[in-house]
Symmetry: C2
Subunit: 553 residues, 2 copies
Amino acid sequence: MKPVRKSLVGLSLLAPAAVLAKDDKPNIVFFLVDDMGWVDSSVAYGEEVYPNNLRFHTPNMDRLAREGVILTSAYACPVSTPTRTSLLTGMNAAHTGITNWTSTMRDTPSDATGGAVAMETGQIEENTGDRLIRPEWNINGMSPAPGVAHTQYATPLPQLLKDAGYFTIHVGKAHWASAGTPGASPYNMGFVVNVSGNVAGMPRSYQSEENYGNTPEKWNMLAVQNMTEYYGTGVHLTEALTREALKTLEYPIRHGEPFFLYMAHYATHTPIQPDKRFIQKYLDAGMDKGQARYASMVEGVDKSLGDLLDYLKEMGVEKNTVVVFMTDNGGNSENKQKGGVLHTQNKPLREGKGSCYEGGVRVPLMFRWPGRVAPNTRVNTPVIVEDLFPTLLEVAGVRNPRVVQAVDGESLVKLVTKGSEIAAKAAARGEIASQAEANRLVIPAEVSGLDPERVLVLHYPHKWKPYDLADIDYLSAVRKGDWKLVYRMQTGELELYDLSTDLGEQRNLAAEHPEKVKELAAELGSRLRGWKAPMPTVRRTGKPVAMPDELTN
Amino acid sequence: MKPVRKSLVGLSLLAPAAVLAKDDKPNIVFFLVDDMGWVDSSVAYGEEVYPNNLRFHTPNMDRLAREGVILTSAYACPVSTPTRTSLLTGMNAAHTGITNWTSTMRDTPSDATGGAVAMETGQIEENTGDRLIRPEWNINGMSPAPGVAHTQYATPLPQLLKDAGYFTIHVGKAHWASAGTPGASPYNMGFVVNVSGNVAGMPRSYQSEENYGNTPEKWNMLAVQNMTEYYGTGVHLTEALTREALKTLEYPIRHGEPFFLYMAHYATHTPIQPDKRFIQKYLDAGMDKGQARYASMVEGVDKSLGDLLDYLKEMGVEKNTVVVFMTDNGGNSENKQKGGVLHTQNKPLREGKGSCYEGGVRVPLMFRWPGRVAPNTRVNTPVIVEDLFPTLLEVAGVRNPRVVQAVDGESLVKLVTKGSEIAAKAAARGEIASQAEANRLVIPAEVSGLDPERVLVLHYPHKWKPYDLADIDYLSAVRKGDWKLVYRMQTGELELYDLSTDLGEQRNLAAEHPEKVKELAAELGSRLRGWKAPMPTVRRTGKPVAMPDELTN
């Protein structure tokens, strides 16, 4: 059964979409993958090709890389909700106060000290033996309406796009807010259509045989909604969401209205369940069962991307559609279901999801924009998720949007257009002989509008799991140029890394460069103060932990 | 929190909707109430004002009656799904083969012999002592795609409206098909937006305190989806759905695109739970608790209607919007939760939901169409739910729609426009002195295009509950003019009633008018044969029950 194809019959009654489309408002597809690591695709984002780039099979991500620009130094937040709310608000997570994932239920902290709830089990975890106590943070997420307790009030990106005439579509995982608050519904965020998005941060099941969690045995608040047509049909959730997305695109394309598709897959978040269409090759290649399952989920997402790209082409809107591909945080390296050796799966990056080390925050990011972005290019200027907010508004031609929040991000439009042109020209002149050289090409600030030495802040003032994870819990970090400072709030340590020579953050240079430590600590401290960032409390004193710059005086 | 109001700010940027709207494609609001009886509002559809008309408080239904036309002899099917699928296909239920409600789970008959499943409990009910065995019928409902087992394949009404340029919106209860089939999703039926519609025929709970059924204690397949924002907020489901509907209207109104809003409330289906905003007055008036709860649900629906009418006015689209108000079957008279005396709550009509007697099938129906329908009028030409299919297509200016099914319904456009004009003129000339006279005014076929003697078929070849209900189970009926024939398939009896003098179907005139019995039995038999209608099997013989005209030879 292919209702999408069938319904195309009616198209002949109307003018071709390409004729109707408005060039000043390109369509936007924002394709967001969950928990997929930076090295877990055949696209090699790094300076070299890593083992996983050879093990994972993602032909459609490859296609996007060939047709667009890779941003090789792109950052998200360590966990899901902060990335999603930074995207929708343009604010750094330390500024929204949404520094951890939101629970499905309102007023329920998710972090693991002081009565937190575990996403998987829904049970309250108590842990009072820790040195630090979780901060006050916006545990209910973001809100498009003022006056909602424990939320960041903001004008959401899709609302601004809708106000600008866009047909805005949400498919998949929302996870910006908790139940019983306005932010729980994509319809309040400015989406015209919503399929499945709500308060869930993961699916109860990817399997149609389990009705995606909608059975008496499996049900909890994470059961996936809006998917009844696929129950028992053998369709993996990733495929089902893709089919839904294609359906929703029909109306705006037919009517020549610009659309914004926010395609946010639940995959590859836990539960790690096989996508049967793709798993065998990974088992055959000798991957362990967990890794093979995860790899099959990645390829399921890749197939979804390909189906979308094909559909855009088939419908004649490919040339007028900007496609952005991103993931919401680093690969999960603390998940036994996923196989491999814990805490190493994102190598060469250190650690994974939850951490402010590169493995937790460095993410794939690609832009395809026919005629504007030079294909098969790379730019390495560091960028961060809140930059997408002004970027997509600029893409949509929205100038001086009226927003209630103070936006931190900066537009990447010049970087991905003019910056990619510079990269393409350098390649054409034969000045780039290797992937490493491509990644090291500097795009001047005069071209991109972005200072390559711009300060980017990553902040996770939380304990992630009910047990200790020293390289994840209570970290804060700042990147400036090639330098990165990591602040370990539990111990008061400040670590300094030179990412140009030590991407894996293995050689702490703090003792050798005290002035650099002081400089970056000051940058981090001033931002955390200015944003009134959530900071954990020291149990013994009842006072917040020191700001990083208080440790360098 | 009022996100709808807030988001109206952006409207100032665009031209007023009224300017943009296309007069040849009026907007359509189809407002469908569940299980609300014909006498259960302050609108008096009958020839006189009945006690319930004075006990129920529905000021917005009154408003619609003042501003539009009442169709006093309107029929739906005895239960929910057949009405909904007849509406979407234009076919009589005996023709679709969808003569009973569809189970949430695929391939699971809902009727109460031969292994049926109870909607409330989800449990299989066995009953093999009956004389009749349930027929083969399309237990999976309707399908917009061919080749799906046990479904009627059809081109759905919203698909045709979408193809004609309408922005089609589904809010509330869908219930056209079972899980795991395409018909389960409004997105496959031609809806651009869907809020909450799926396979559920009733809500697990109307109460936000119970998350509309989304709790570990309450959950089953009937838990209402897409409502997380209201969990625990005190908002009754009817109100929540209304707010969602208003949100979804914003985009088409802003863009001047014609819209079709299918607003299908779960209320007033079981569970009968109070709408706290309205219950006290009914308790104060001395109603028993069950009746008061039900009345409060009716008034909740009335408030929803009022909010929608207000919104249309506020947005400047009132004059260009056709509003149709209808219910999906008769009031439930076999429901202890609802209070009152069982089997009498629809008096003067006989029986209620499930039955082919008037109490089960005669329903409220009103049209408001400014400038086209004469206000405060009544027409009594008998009409039936499948007529809405060609009617709404004609309203939308869709001529010669390409459909895969054979449509049985006839357009009511002339009846509600020219017919209501005739009624208004008669009233203006002082020719109508009473409600009874208004209801008896004949609209000639030359005006309405509808023969007042047209044959309407009602067919319920099922056992409804696991226990016997003689006035509900296995009935088939035909109305022609003032005459009605009821065929009791269990006993082979044919009953004849003159509705003009015996609306309550108390005086069986079959013995006095054998020729009329023969005539109507022939009409019914030929249609059931032609449509290959599902007929129960006689357990003893293994053969189908006799056709009604086989009993009159």
